[in-house]
């Protein structure tokens, strides 16, 4: 691949997925300095991978694979510094409840709740929910992650169910 083609493809990828990658990096790494390193690592990995991109999948699919692979490598590398235990979404229990989705959205509580769920999830469920939140379809998520679309749909359903319970004030998460 010529350097100019590679640069153009990289610019396209950043234009399409740049902001989403920033949100993804934030969801994987809370520390600002480490997050900056992660963002750079993702871009370098993507740039290095682009000569292998021959249109075998959509460019965003390629970008998401590289980005999630790099982000999970990052959290595995820093695993020993983590105190909290990761769980699957099926095991997750939330303590507080929120009054109303619109109100919660306005004051940022909804975002806090979403983040609190994401932060506690292990790599498999975390990547699925992050892709869902970016509007990636279940079929495409399945292709990126390497699992069935049905399983993606189950996980998303569980996530939405959990949020619904929280918003309705029932306090239940199962």
């Amino acid at each position: 691949m010529r350097r100019s083609d590679r640069d153009r493809l990289f610019a396209d990828a950043m234009a399409q997925c740049g902001r989403a990658l920033a949100r993804m990096a934030r969801a994987y790494e809370a520390d600002a300095d480490l997050r900056r390193d992660l963002e750079q690592d993702i871009q370098i990995a993507l740039w290095q991978s682009l000569p292998g991109f021959e249109g075998q999948c959509a460019l965003p699919t390629w970008v998401w694979r590289v980005a999630h692979n790099r982000a999970i490598s990052h959290i595995l590398r820093h695993l020993r510094h983590r105190r909290e235990r990761w769980v699957n979404i099926e095991e997750l229990e939330l303590e507080s409840s929120l009054p109303d989705p619109s109100e919660a959205a306005e004051n940022g509580q909804a975002m806090m709740l979403i983040r609190s769920i994401i932060d506690r999830l292990g790599p498999p469920d975390r990547q699925i929910l992050l892709l869902y939140l970016e509007g990636v379809s279940a079929a495409e998520t399945a292709d990126i992650v390497g699992i069935s679309a049905d399983l993606v749909a189950q996980k998303v359903h569980r996530f939405k169910n959990m949020l619904s319970h929280q918003f309705s004030g029932s306090g239940e998460s199962r």
Partner: protein, 191 residues
């Protein structure tokens, strides 16, 4: 129960317009080269260590008397070269395009390779060095005369203890990797 539609949830999430500063092409090229240099430096360290072993035991092969010391030196030289070759082969440069395979396959393959390397460290790193070291220590013990037997037992015992610790530490690291790998199994995703 309140229904949550996909659109509103995704809007809440995407309302976070976090800044992401794309790196320019020159920065990317420089960083990618630096990454390549780091791998070259790491391999160079391994070759330098093997080279020092070859020089030291080459000298003992030439200078020291007795066939046990000479045979031990020769076997250690061969083992050092074998270990350096194995290290270079087993930690080869990663394939950037492999990073674009699906997440589950990418990690299953990567963690499996690393776990196998750590599990097999006794075979490709420790065992090849043992015959040469054993012969060398035995030769040295004979040269030392009456004191040699105790010296041999203590030195060989220390060496065996050290090798056992290295082996156990690596087995433990491999077990931890296998634990990390569990999420790349179908059950890790709840399949």
């Amino acid at each position: 129960m309140t229904d949550i539609d996909d659109g509103s949830l995704q809007r809440i999430w995407q309302a976070d317009t976090a800044a992401f500063t794309p790196m320019d092409a020159d920065q990317l090229q420089w960083q990618a080269d630096r990454f390549g240099d780091a791998i070259i430096r790491r391999n160079r360290r391994e070759y330098v260590a093997a080279g020092l072993c070859v020089i030291f035991f080459g000298a003992t092969l030439w200078i020291l008397p007795g066939w046990l010391l000479k045979a031990g030196s020769l076997l250690i030289i061969l083992a050092s070269l074998f270990v350096a070759w194995q290290l270079s082969r087993r930690t080869s440069r990663p394939d950037p395009v492999a990073a674009a395979t699906d997440v589950r396959t990418y990690f299953r393959d990567r963690l499996e390779t690393e776990a196998q390397m750590l599990e097999a460290i006794g075979r490709w790193y420790l065992a090849p060095l043992l015959p040469g070291l054993g012969l060398f220590l035995a030769g040295q013990a004979i040269v030392m005369g009456s004191q040699g037997r105790i010296w041999f037992i203590m030195t060989a015992g220390t060496l065996v203890l050290l090798f056992t610790i290295i082996w156990l530490v690596n087995r433990r690291a491999a077990a931890q990797l296998r634990q990390q790998m569990s999420w790349t199994d179908p059950t890790g995703y709840g399949e």
